[in-house]
Amino acid sequence: MARLTILEHREIADNMRWLAFEAPQDLHYQPGQFLHIRVTDGVDHLLRRPISLCKVDGGRQVLAVAYRVGGKGTKLLAAKNVGDTLDVLGPLGKGFQLHDGDSHAILIGGGIGVPPMVELADQLHQKGVKVTTIVGFQSKNVSILIDDLKKYGDVLIATNDGTLGLQGFVTDYMTDELLSSADRFYACGPTPMLRAVQAKMAGRVEGYLSLEERMGCGIGACMACVTSCQLPDGSIGFKKVCKDGPVFPAPEVYFA
């Protein structure tokens, strides 16, 4: 837990913002982890907002996220200025795991699931893994982080309305050719997308899904954020998105 100072805060697409903090001294992190951010010091918005870590830069000096201004809390967040400080918990949870020996990874991000792919792409790239990123957006005006992702590999773009890239879904890019060349996939986005990705990849490519759930504590104590998972004994049980996740091995995730 720390009060972090805002270094950058700007619009990167319609209602989408880039928010960079001065990183805490003792920063430990994995791509796919999240920050749990208090949007006001008052009590009118008690619960913290979970936002994925998007990028760590400047030799671990800068910690950035990208978020959509949607509800009341993120509207308050959007009003914060450079120099203001925010109460931030984290990075929390289990992030994406990198595997030695992988040579090609497919990264799949949908909407506000795209941000965690940036740090992941960078780390994979640094490790010598070839990165292909597939991103999906509603429309061009809400597309984000494409240039950032292009630094680390190919970026394939789908939009629902065809205003950018292919008109369609991220799964449309998942050809046999692509899948057969890949050692691993990493996905984050809306549930329907994750479900489709899970189905498409099953038995072909191993990988990870990053989930979203409404949170209370963010640290595993309140049981608010559970998701159905295949437990080690084969039964279906709950795991906590905040502590056991948000990133889970794809086969573990059980979509009802």
Partner: protein, 303 residues
């Protein structure tokens, strides 16, 4: 030296602050933030006879000055709690209070009996007030006769102090308190959550999957303080006060209303360091106001 110690029945607490049940799990997560030995006591998550999966998600929603939850008593069942969750708490020098829930009186009694086999249980908190319909227990929390009956039955099998946790969703909280006192309760804890609801304007449905949820946080504090004030004057057993405590001054407000100790729920989610900071806040208040013994504050608002 300010004396912060208080007694809840035969339990000796080094200070009046404990986490509230369900908001602290079994303590492991908060132990990453501070040494739990600082606490006055620890109240763990509700335990039932059999494992429970709890409710579907979303289980929480934010409301103005508060939150709703409908976790639905997710817990691994009393056996696993005894075997896997409680032992690690022994290393802290604090009383462990186990919150017990059930659907029938027999359930409550069976869980209590099982807990008596464990050396790691210092008190029982009887959750007769879970506002979530499907989880059972609420009928005991709204009818004085039934509350007395479950209290009596548990007292018969418990070797440790029995604390009964009251629901605020009643017309007459004083009648509830008197009934469980007469039935032998060693202490009362109050309040559990108020039954509330938020509607998701996009989905046009209740936001929480369970429909209704329990309202907690600063929003409910005035209701909790009022009930504590009324009940404290009507009974002779100690009260663990809770409902929206965020800082030391809030805690002092409950003590003045008549609580002997306080529990901290929602505040832990806002600030994982809430409990130790509240202990410090009470200490500071006492120093600045010449209070030598925190017990001198109990009930001063009506004494």
């Amino acid at each position: 030296m300010i004396d912060l110690s208080v007694n809840i029945g035969s339990l000796k607490l080094k200070n009046p602050v404990m986490p509230a049940s369900g908001c602290f799990s079994f303590g492991k997560e908060y132990a990453d933030f501070y040494d739990l030995s600082q606490l006055g006591a620890i109240t763990v998550k509700a335990t039932t006879l059999e494992p429970r999966l709890g409710n579907p998600t979303p289980r929480v929603a934010e409301t103005p000055g508060g939150m709703l939850n409908a976790i639905g008593l997710q817990n691994p069942g009393v056996e696993k709690v005894i075997a896997e969750e409680l032992p690690h708490l022994r290393k802290y020098d604090i009383p462990v209070i186990v919150n017990v829930a059930g659907t029938t009186v027999e359930d409550y009694v069976a869980v209590t009996e099982r807990l008596m086999d464990s050396a790691d249980v210092d008190a029982i908190e009887v959750n007769i007030s879970c506002p979530n319909v499907k989880c059972g227990g609420i009928q005991f929390g709204t009818d004085p006769a039934q509350a007395a009956h479950v209290t009596e039955s548990i007292k018969k099998v418990s070797k440790v102090p029995v604390i009964v946790k009251l629901s605020p969703n009643v017309t007459d909280i004083v009648a509830m308190a008197k009934a469980v006192e007469a039935a032998g309760a060693d202490a009362i804890s109050m309040i559990n959550t108020l039954v509330g609801m938020s509607i998701d304007l996009h989905k046009k449905r209740p936001l929480i999957a369970n429909g209704v949820g329990g309202l907690s946080g600063p929003a409910v504090k005035p209701v909790a303080v009022r009930m504590t004030y009324q009940v404290a004057q009507a009974i002779n057993i100690p009260i663990i006060g809770m409902g929206g405590i965020m800082d030391g001054e809030d805690a002092i407000e409950f003590l003045m209303a008549g609580a002997t100790a306080v529990a901290i729920g929602t505040a832990n989610f806002v600030n994982p360091m809430a409990c130790p900071e509240i202990i410090e806040g009470i200490q500071t208040y006492c120093e600045q106001n010449g209070v030598a013994n925190v017990r001198d504050l109990v009930g001063v608002a009506w004494k």
